[in-house]
């Protein structure tokens, strides 16, 4: 039987191969799909690079297996291939049929054999399993389960794949195009600031990232330094800004920003910014710093050095601060900021320096950079505090309280002063408050006092002589002032408290002056007693010698004692001079008396000076020397006579001086009365004028003061000193009666009482009445004074006339007997007549001398000249008599001629003196000279101006110019002659100013010479100007006796000081503001007490503003 094993096998093999192929195919498809899905997903997520995609696609090349499988299909389909497979299949088939099972495969195997068993087996098989059945069975499709599931799976996978590829099409496309590079999408952006940057060491850096990244993305900033790497998580400022702050940078580094994927399902793992570089430049280091503090020069302190470690400097105002330092690298630039001042450093390689003078405290900030612009790590801050130079210390040890000025007008003082750096001036400031001033001068006058400039602390003592012109009742405010040597902010000034020195009242002053006169008089009288004593002793000695031919020892001793007193006498005279000088100066300052009184005092002084130079002292000296030796009686006699003569002269001079002193005293008493009355009147007038501004109490007090003044006056008028001029005494008594009769005192007392009881109207009535009477009294007193002075003047003129008459008679007589004298003979009538006349002349001359002495006690006109002339005439007259006695008639005539000339000269002198007495106001003469000199100065001034009208330089010789110069020369000559006349008069009066005039005269001579030589230069002009100036000075020196300061013409030292404060808003018119307030107050109805309070307030206001 043929069993179609091969057919079956073929079918089986075919089916199997098909099945296998199908399975393989589906599985491959399945795998492919799954793989593709996976890689598509991977690609879509991760955006693989090209290479990776290729790699991923490589497994797909495994699909080439399909070909092999196809080959296998054909191979497996071929029953000839792989017999084992046949066996398996046959076996499997057999097993499908339980009825056959192994038989099948056995049959198949046996089929190959041709043996009957084999055939039987086959047959049997055929029987069991008919081939048609088998073929039917074989045609049946296998269970679809296996295939179905595989197909479902495969379909599923394909479906998934398709879906995935559709859904992730981009990824799928990318997979299919592995050679193409696709950028990984990154839709976010960022910006990193500042990027590359250069910073300085120790600077800080803020890295900012402006981004659009989602917040959940991890972000990092990576800092890479040379040795380390740091990763920072930036701080989120807001949704779009991140920040990393890096303080205190030391080394250079790089950094970048990176963002990381938040999960693995992002195609990118990390995105980074470019790497940025931060370069750190090293800062320069301050190696050292020093402060040199140079105190202001005036302190004489040495400079101090502070190191940079100091952060505070305490320096004196005005100090200069020099800062020196050094950096670790060359300095580029730098500056110092101090308050609002900015100063750049001076640099020199690594060193720098700067100077400044701080004006106020503050903080100094030092900054510096190197040549690359790198600055110091920190600004250097230094606090500079300024302390001011302290004001000097001043403590007054004496006086302790206010004081009353005495006649010496001195203020003893003791003051302690001290300063830290030095004192530049120490002074006493004075401020006179005068009684009649409505608006007292509040200016302080400075009077420098000596001190030791080198000592910083000292106690000084001295006596201040008040130079102010004070009037009685005035008060001198004074204070001490010390100024330090601060030239920077201006001198520090310290003041003491204000002391008051009260000037005694008028009455007190007059009393003092009178007391001084009495003392002078006493001294003069003491001198006179000495002189008289000396005269007596000399007379006694002379008598002794004449009688006995020798001297008594006692007498000699007595003379010796007197002679030895000459030094004491000289001292007394000197001290008299000094006291008069002092008195004169005081009286000038006090303005108590008129110029006439002062001039007279000055002459008194001259007279006393003459006493000092008296011949008496020379004789005394000679006597002293002689008494020490053995002296022969004759010499002693001669010396005694001389001594007696000189003592007598001295006595006479003293007598004259004493009389003049009495005259002066009388004049002073007269003026004192006027002064007291005038003061009383002034006070009364002021009271009436200011009545509305004063309280009742003040008014009552003023009336009492006026009443007191009048009482003092009355006392003066009644208590007259001994020896007062009789006429003056009578006048005073008369005036005293008039004053009593006027009942002024009662009126003033009534006024005072009324004011005290606040009955102002009544008081005012009385005051007005008293004022009128006072005015009348003053007028009467002045009339009385004028009549006394006129009387005096007339008396003096009468005396002069008398003397002149006598001199003329003497001259006439001398002239009469002169001719023919030499021809007379002895015992002739002519001789007798001449002798008689000459004796008369001699007697007349003696009488003239007496008259001269008498007049010299009344007036200061008489200088020594007339006395000298009359003495010469007397000597000559005596010579004439002697010649007559001796029979020398020729010599007598010669002497007569000389005498006549001498007498004529004397007459001329007397005439000139009389003329001056006539033209002067009171007969004393000095005002006239002053006026003459002043007039001369004015004429010189006019001449100067006319001279300067000439063109300079002169245009050359020309008629007009020459005529002008000649005229000018003539005028100058005339002025010079006038000056010489004045000079002569002054010499006669013994005035020392005449020396001064001689210099002026010689300059005038020079000018005249220039003008005559037609020479007019700058020097000529200067001489002319000098002449005018000195003439004025000369007249001024007579007119006033002000103490003149030396003209300090030393070139000044320039100094720099700070500018004064800005001008006040009121431009110094605060006084007018205060005044306007005062005026407004005057228009209100305030009571006097309230007004006083307001006035006090305004005064304080003025002081406060000052």
């Amino acid at each position: 039987m043929h069993y179609p094993f091969e057919q079956i096998l073929t079918i089986l093999r075919k089916k199997e191969a098909k099945k296998r192929f199908k399975t393989r195919f589906f599985r491959l498809l399945h795998i492919n799909c799954i793989y593709l899905v996976i890689i598509t997903i991977i690609e879509s997520i991760w955006y693989m690079p090209s290479a990776v995609r290729w790699i991923l696609l490589i497994p797909l090349t495994g699909n080439v297996l399909l070909l092999f499988w196809l080959k296998d299909y054909f191979h497996e389909k071929n029953i000839r291939k792989n017999p084992l497979e046949n066996i398996r299949l046959m076996e499997a088939l057999g097993n499908r049929f339980p009825e056959v099972k192994d038989r099948f495969i056995n049959a198949w195997q046996l089929s190959k054999n041709s043996d009957p068993l084999s055939r039987l087996a086959v047959q049997r098989l055929a029987e069991l399993l008919p081939p048609h059945y088998l073929f039917k069975e074989l045609e049946k499709k296998e269970s679809p389960t296996l295939h179905r599931s595989l197909m479902i799976k495969t379909a599923l996978c394909v479906g998934i794949f398709i879906l995935t590829s559709l859904f992730l099409w981009d990824g799928f496309v990318r997979l299919l195009t592995p050679s193409h590079e696709y950028p990984i999408p990154f839709p976010w952006t960022w910006e990193v600031h500042p990027g590359n940057v250069t910073q300085q060491e120790n600077d800080s850096l803020e890295i900012q990232i402006i981004h659009s990244l989602p917040p959940h993305f991890p972000k990092r900033v990576t800092i890479k330094e040379s040795h380390k790497t740091k990763i920072y998580v930036p701080e989120t400022i807001n949704d779009t800004t991140l920040r990393v702050f890096l303080p205190d940078l030391q080394t250079s580094f790089t950094y970048f920003f990176s963002v990381h994927r938040p999960h693995i399902f992002m195609p990118w793992k990390e995105k980074s910014s470019p790497v940025y570089e931060v370069q750190i430049l090293k800062r320069p280091i301050l190696e050292f710093l020093e402060f040199y503090v140079i105190p202001p020069a005036y302190t004489r302190l040495e400079e101090e050095i502070y190191t940079g470690g100091t952060d505070k400097l305490l320096i004196l105002e005005g100090s200069q601060v020099n800062i020196k330092g050094e950096l670790s690298v060359p300095v580029g630039s730098g500056k110092v900021q101090f308050n609002d001042q900015q100063i750049y450093l001076k640099t020199n390689d690594r060193r720098f320096e700067v100077s400044l003078t701080p004006m106020r405290s503050g903080t100094l900030i030092l900054t510096a950079t190197d040549t690359l612009g790198m600055s110091l790590e920190n600004e250097m801050h230094y606090k500079i505090s300024l302390y001011p130079d302290k004001k000097p210390i001043l403590a007054v040890l004496e006086p302790e309280t206010d004081l009353l000025l005495n006649e010496t007008m001195t203020i003893p003082w003791q003051v302690f002063i001290s300063d830290d750096f030095g004192i530049v001036s120490f002074a006493l400031e004075t401020q006179p408050i005068r009684t009649f001033q409505q608006h007292p001068d509040t200016t302080w006058k400075e009077n420098p006092l000596p001190f030791h400039p080198e000592e910083y602390t000292q106690t000084l003592t001295g006596v201040w002589t008040v130079k102010e012109r004070l009037s009685p009742g005035d008060v001198l405010n004074f204070r001490f002032k010390v100024v330090d040597n601060n030239t920077y902010t201006g001198p520090g000034i310290s003041y003491s408290q204000v002391f008051k020195a009260r000037f005694p009242s008028l009455t007190e002053l007059f009393a003092r002056s009178e007391q001084q006169h009495f003392e002078t008089q006493d001294n003069l009288q003491a001198l006179q007693r000495f002189s008289e004593d000396l005269e007596k002793r000399a007379e006694a000695l002379k008598k002794d010698i004449l009688k006995k031919g020798e001297t008594d020892w006692l007498q000699q001793e007595a003379i010796k004692n007197l002679v030895e007193q000459q030094d004491t006498i000289k001292e007394t005279i000197k001290s008299l001079q000094e006291s008069i000088q002092k008195q004169l100066e005081e009286l000038e300052e006090q303005n108590l008396f008129s110029e006439e009184v002062l001039d007279n005092m000055s002459y008194l002084q001259d007279l006393i000076r003459e006493l000092e130079n008296s011949e008496l002292f020379i004789q005394l000296q000679k006597m002293q020397e002689k008494l020490q030796q053995e002296m022969d009686p004759n010499s002693l006699l001669a010396m005694s006579e001389e001594l007696q003569k000189e003592a007598k002269k001295f006595s006479e001079s003293l007598e004259r001086t004493i009389r003049l002193l009495e005259e002066l005293r009388d004049l002073e008493r007269l003026e004192e009365g006027e002064r007291l009355l005038t003061e009383a009147l002034q006070k009364q007038k002021t009271l009436l004028k200011e009545e509305s501004e004063r309280t009742s109490y003040e008014l009552a007090n003023t009336e009492k003061e006026v009443s007191q003044i009048l009482k003092d006056l009355q006392k003066k008028l009644n208590e007259l000193p001994e020896g007062m001029n009789e006429r003056l005494s009578q006048k005073f008594e008369k005036f005293s009666d008039i004053l009593d009769a006027a009942k002024l005192q009662e009126m003033l007392q009534s006024a005072a009482s009324a004011f005290s009881e606040n009955e102002r109207t009544e008081g005012l009535q009385h005051a007005e009445q008293a004022g009128k009477i006072l005015e009348e009294m003053v007028s009467q007193y002045q009339e009385m004074m004028a009549s006394i002075q006129q009387g005096r003047k007339e008396e003096i003129l009468q005396d002069f006339q008398r003397m002149l008459h006598r001199a003329l008679v003497i001259s006439e007589k001398q002239e009469k007997i002169l001719p023919g004298t030499q021809k007379v003979t002895k015992d002739s009538q002519a001789l007798q007549e001449r002798l008689s006349e000459q004796n008369f002349i001699q007697e007349s001359l003696k009488q003239l001398t007496i008259e001269l002495e008498a007049i010299s006690r009344k007036t200061f006109f008489m200088g020594p000249r007339p006395f000298q002339e009359v003495e010469k005439a007397q000597v000559l007259s005596q010579e004439i008599l002697d010649h007559f006695q001796e029979g020398r008639f020729y010599q007598a005539e010669q002497a007569m001629t000389q005498n006549l000339s001498q007498i004529n000269q004397l007459t001329g002198t007397l005439l000139a003196l009389m003329g001056q007495a006539q033209s002067s106001e009171s007969g004393t003469g000095m005002e006239q000279l002053m006026d003459q000199l002043q007039a001369l100065a004015e004429m010189q001034g006019a001449l100067n101006r006319d001279s300067q009208g000439m063109p300079m330089p002169l245009p050359g010789p020309g008629n007009e110019t020459m005529m002008l110069m000649s005229e000018l020369a003539a005028r100058q000559q005339a002025l010079r002659r006038e000056l010489e006349k004045i000079q002569q008069v002054m010499e006669q009066m013994g005035d020392g100013t005449s020396q001064h005039l001689e210099n002026i005269s010689s300059d005038m001579e020079e000018v005249i010479r220039d003008l005559r030589q037609k020479r007019y230069t700058r020097r000529t002009i200067q001489r002319q100007q000098g002449i005018e100036q000195r003439l004025l000075d000369a007249s001024r020196s007579i007119h006033t006796r002000e103490l003149s300061r030396e003209r300090e013409s030393q070139t000044g030292k320039q100094s720099v000081r700070s500018s004064p404060e800005q001008l006040p808003h009121n431009l110094g018119s605060k006084e007018s503001l205060i005044q306007s307030i005062r005026e407004k107050l005057n228009n209100t109805s305030l009571s006097p007490e309230e007004r006083t309070e307001m006035e006090r307030y305004l005064e304080n206001l003025r002081d406060m503003v000052e």
Binding site: G1026, R1036, S1044, Q1050, K1053, L1067, S1069
Partner: protein, 223 residues
């Protein structure tokens, strides 16, 4: 033609009339005062000052200053009044009245302390202006910066008491009417060089400051 000629002539005449050469020069007066002080000190100073002003500014100043007595009408003929001295100054009541009138009606007084004038000047000026005080001018005041600049104030010409020089002023209704120089001695600086033998720069500085003072008063910017 005639009209044109007349017009031309008139123009020439007017031009000549207003030519600076024809205008009257400015005048400095030296104040003569009473009291015994040497008002006549520094006799050559004002001539030198006038000459310096003429050479250094466009002003024309009479180089022969006038001596002005307060009681004389000449007081009102000077544009600039100068006073100096070493000693006492005294004004009578009438002189006080006249000076006040002069100064409050456009006049100007420069007082220069020649050393010794201070006390009496202060006393007497108080009589003229009792309601106004002497105030020290700061260095920024225009008087120090007119033609020449003095940033540190007055130059110190002569030593005197060794104090810094000070310039004081009295203002009347806002106008500087009195300028008082103290511890300075400008007048000495204006004298010829051989008078005091001061260095040339000191003299020049003194003359410059004097020019400033004069110019300040004349300057219409400071009425």
């Amino acid at each position: 033609m005639m009209k044109k000629g007349s017009f031309f002539t008139l123009a020439i005449v007017l031009l000549l009339f207003f030519h600076p050469a024809w205008s009257e020069p400015l005048r400095i007066g030296r104040l003569k005062y009473g009291g015994g002080g040497d008002w006549y000190a520094n006799p050559g100073s004002l001539e030198n000052l006038a000459s310096f002003i003429n050479h250094n500014t466009s002003l024309t100043v009479d180089e022969k200053p006038l001596v002005v007595d307060i009681d004389s009408p000449d007081l009102f003929n000077v544009h600039f009044l100068h006073m100096t001295g070493h000693g006492n100054v005294f004004f009578t009541n009438e002189q006080v009245r006249r000076l006040r009138f002069y100064l409050t009606h456009g006049g100007f007084l420069h007082a220069d302390d020649n050393y010794g004038l201070d006390q009496s000047f202060r006393r007497e000026i108080k009589k003229i202006f009792p309601d106004h005080e002497l105030v020290e001018l700061p260095f920024t005041h225009p008087i120090y910066h007119q033609v020449f600049s003095f940033p540190n104030g007055l130059p110190k010409v002569h030593e005197h008491d060794g104090k810094p020089p000070q310039g004081f002023g009295i203002f009347y209704e806002g106008r500087l009417v009195v300028f008082y120089t103290y511890e300075c001695d400008l007048g000495n600086g204006w004298e010829d060089a051989e008078v005091y033998g001061d260095p040339e720069e000191i003299r020049t500085a003194a003359l410059q400051m004097g020019t400033n003072i004069f110019y300040y008063h004349i300057n219409p910017a400071y009425p």
